[in-house]
């Protein structure tokens, strides 16, 4: 098939002094490909997308070397508008991309500008809305749509222009797992039926591996790996060194191959493949199904922390209800008790009431019914600024938290607010900054997104709070940054803070939370040990939550192959169990 995009030796830096954001990148994309781009933050993914969409060299200034050909034309020789006829791009910030207040007008804007004959416009709008599956949203105000719907409107507005290439920069960053999947299904459909080439930057490996025909891994401005998902995710160790996650099932199959238990070379990209692989491996082993008569002992890796022994709960919700005055998502009958040193995950779909719960917790919202007690204080009677001395919140977007001119001032700010003597506050801040390896004298806004999140995290750590609230702590972070954040938080829990974490990434929740609370429609559907609840298929379906891959796999293996797989939550335990079962034969 013909190449639609040919990049040859492209380097780019955002200024003569700046480091190369792209470093000698050569990439060929064939028409009809579905390419996923992944890499740690600062690897040059967005810069690459900007080169493909013509924003470099036409919008961002800097030094560009090499050539980028789109359908045979060099991007330097044609105008941005002409490039846009071929390459449609969907920006990271959806609100900034919108130009109209009604869905139909949003689609009209591009069609009118590019001079599509007026007698064809109606047909194009109707067809595009149907393709993306939002025909019913045509007359709606964009401001009233959910995140997933907005994303689809943005895609439709570009798709209506019938581009040959679609470039998307992290389209699912703000979405829950179900909406993320729907967006990718839409993209796959457009790719298959209309033959549009799709290039998508994405951090969620499970999505990349199940939808893309090709995955490109970037690191330090270069292309580190490129190939089919099976080829790329076969290199788990290399990926981990770069700072990129790989599907847990791929880690399992790679370990099995590494230990010589399996001959197959291609990694398993999803639970089905891993299930089939382990089943076939163990099929030849006699007596496997009876082998696990001896009760499966709990996984030795689950840390047991000395919490809740004689301690008073640090947080209690009693029959808490809250309704927004303007209507919208409300919560009812919330009962939660958390002890010092516990790590509790809150899971559920967008709109389940998770954010409302966190705001009730730090006092931003006062309950309409029931009582919230934080460190012995009733939030209804206590000013938020007093609650803040006990509860520290790490918000999803660090830029809303940061308001000082230097990292040191920023980290010390929270302490000073709670009345700690400025000199002592600075001393404590300095220690934490040093531990995180942050530049104390720099302006926080000159740092990268990941580092700004670290500054915000340092501001939380320095407070030594009774309760830490995390609202989507991992969104927008790469795998390595995500692990740093979570390990820091676990360390805080070890030192006695209670941690409440709202998170869409179930793999992270299952790795770090020992208890979870499952929410849907403003109610708590279930609570208890993470492993048990994730293994409860009916509960997970009721809450529209996709369980973590390893737990999903172990539940299915325990049912079909051997009870020995029951209650397993970690990659290494699956591998160990397979080894033991084979050894027994």
């Amino acid at each position: 098939m013909a190449a639609i995009i040919e990049m040859d030796g492209v380097s780019f830096s955002y200024g003569a002094e700046a480091e190369h954001a792209l470093d000698d990148v050569s990439l060929r994309v064939n028409e009809g490909d579905f390419v996923g781009i992944i890499g740690p933050s600062g690897a040059g993914k967005s810069t690459l997308a900007a080169c493909l969409s013509g924003a470099i060299p036409h919008h961002f200034t800097g030094e560009l070397f090499g050539s980028t050909l789109i359908a045979g034309k060099d991007t330097c020789d044609v105008t941005l508008t002409d490039i846009s006829r071929l390459v449609g791009s969907v920006a990271q910030d959806i609100d900034a991309q919108m130009v109209a207040s009604v869905v139909e007008d949003e689609l009209l804007f591009g069609l009118e500008n590019f001079g599509v004959p007026h007698d064809q416009i109606e047909d194009r709008i109707a067809r595009t809305l149907a393709t993306v599956g939002i025909a019913d949203l045509r007359e709606r105000e964009i401001a009233t749509l959910s995140g997933g719907q907005k994303q689809k409107v943005a895609i439709a507005a570009i798709l209506a222009l019938e581009p040959r290439v679609l470039v998307l920069d992290e389209p699912t960053a703000a979405l829950d797992p179900v909406s993320s999947r729907v967006v990718f299904e839409t993209l796959a459909d457009v790719n298959r039926r209309l033959g549009v080439t799709v290039i998508v930057i994405e951090q969620k490996v499970a999505l990349l591996s199940s939808f893309c025909s090709r995955v490109v891994v970037m690191d330090h401005g270069r292309i580190a790996l490129s190939g089919t998902p099976h080829e790329v995710f076969g290199h788990s160790d290399r990926l981990r060194a770069i700072g990129v996650d790989s599907p847990r099932t791929a880690r399992i199959s790679n370990s099995l191959v590494g230990d010589g238990l399996v001959a197959q070379a291609a990694p398993c990209l999803n639970v089905d493949e891993a299930h089939a692989l382990i089943r076939s491996v163990l099929a030849g082993v006699p007596g496997v199904t009876q082998a696990a008569a001896d009760d499966p002992e709990p996984s030795p890796h689950i840390p047991t922390r000395p919490h809740a022994q004689g301690a008073d709960p640090i947080l209690t919700f009693r029959q808490v209800g809250f309704t927004y005055p303007s209507g919208g998502a409300s919560v009812t009958d919330l009962d939660i008790t958390v002890y010092p040193g516990e790590l509790v995950g809150i899971v559920g779909q967008n709109g389940a009431g998770k954010t409302t719960l966190t705001k009730l917790l730090n006092g931003l919202l006062k309950p309409t019914r029931g009582k919230v007690r934080v460190a012995g204080l009733d939030t209804r009677e206590t000013p938020v600024s007093t609650v803040a001395a006990h509860v520290a919140t790490l918000f999803q977007n660090p830029d809303r938290q940061i308001c000082k001119n230097t990292v040191l001032d920023e980290v010390a700010f929270g302490l000073e607010l709670t009345g700690v003597d400025p000199a002592a506050a600075r001393e404590r801040a300095r220690r934490v900054i040093k531990r995180f390896g942050l530049p104390a004298g720099e302006a926080p806004f000159s740092l990268s997104r990941g580092q700004r999140q670290m500054v915000a995290l340092a501001g939380v750590v320095v407070m030594e709070p009774d309760i830490v609230v995390l609202d989507e702590p991992t969104s927008g972070l790469d795998y390595r940054e995500c692990m740093t954040v979570m390990e820091t938080v676990r360390d805080m829990a070890d030192h006695g803070s209670a941690v409440i974490m709202v998170c869409h990434d179930m793999e992270v929740v299952s790795d770090f939370a020992e208890r979870i609370v499952v929410m849907a429609d403003g109610r708590i559907l279930g609570r208890g040990p993470a492993a048990d609840l994730f293994a409860n298929t009916a509960l997970m379906e009721a809450a529209s939550v996709t369980p973590p891959q390893v737990i999903d796999l172990s539940v299915r293996l325990a049912r079909d192959v051997s009870p020995a797989f029951a209650h397993i939550t970690e990659v290494s335990d699956i591998v160990r169990t397979v080894k033991e079962l084979m050894g027994r034969a």
Binding site: A96, V99, L108, F114, P383, K404, N405
Partner: protein, 248 residues
Amino acid sequence: MLNVIDYVPGDTLLHRLNPVTKLALAAAIIAATFLANTYAALVGLLVLTLLLAAYAGVFGRLARLLKLLVPIALIMLVLQLVFVRGGDTLFSFVTDEGLITGGKACLRLLGVALLLVLMLMVTKLTDLANACVEKLHIPYKYAFTFTTALRFVPVFSQEMNAIMEAQTARGVQYDTKNPFKKMQLMLPLCVPLLISSVSKTDATALAAEQRGFYLRTRASSYRRYPFAARDIVVFALCVALIVGGIVL
């Protein structure tokens, strides 16, 4: 409260008027408000605005805005009372001339503000921009700048709210009763707000250009905005209003 200028869908005559006609009507009422010099005329114009709002079904929303505007109008009245020194003294520093001019200034303020908001409530911004480009030959660049600025108002106020929430959760005392202290605490927040605004604006400019912004001409708009008989009638009414304003 945030989105007072949002479009309110409807099918009244006011909604169906050509956007340019609505603009002319607003301009005429504003002109009359400034030309008229009697209380009766000013109150009459204000009542006219409120009647129009009630007819278009947006009276409730406008009333909420009124709650915000009345204190501002009262502050203006006090300032006028202090600074207008002519006429006879009624009591302490208040003179009759000050009271009269101050009262009129208040009514004018309310009349203009309510009217402009009313007009935005019954007109889609896209229609307003397209109609101005088609009928008034305004370059699209300016129309787009204007509508984008208005569209960003709720976006930025949401952003500001989120920032305030984050800061409150850290312990900044926005729940203080002292308005000056609150002001002092809010000033540093301009930094994060400014930074997110600049990057948002840049992203918008790029996104618009990538969707053919520079190709747009007067003829691009899919929708056409012809004047109907009702528009002519309203234009006549506009002239009458201005004449009325001069006479009264």
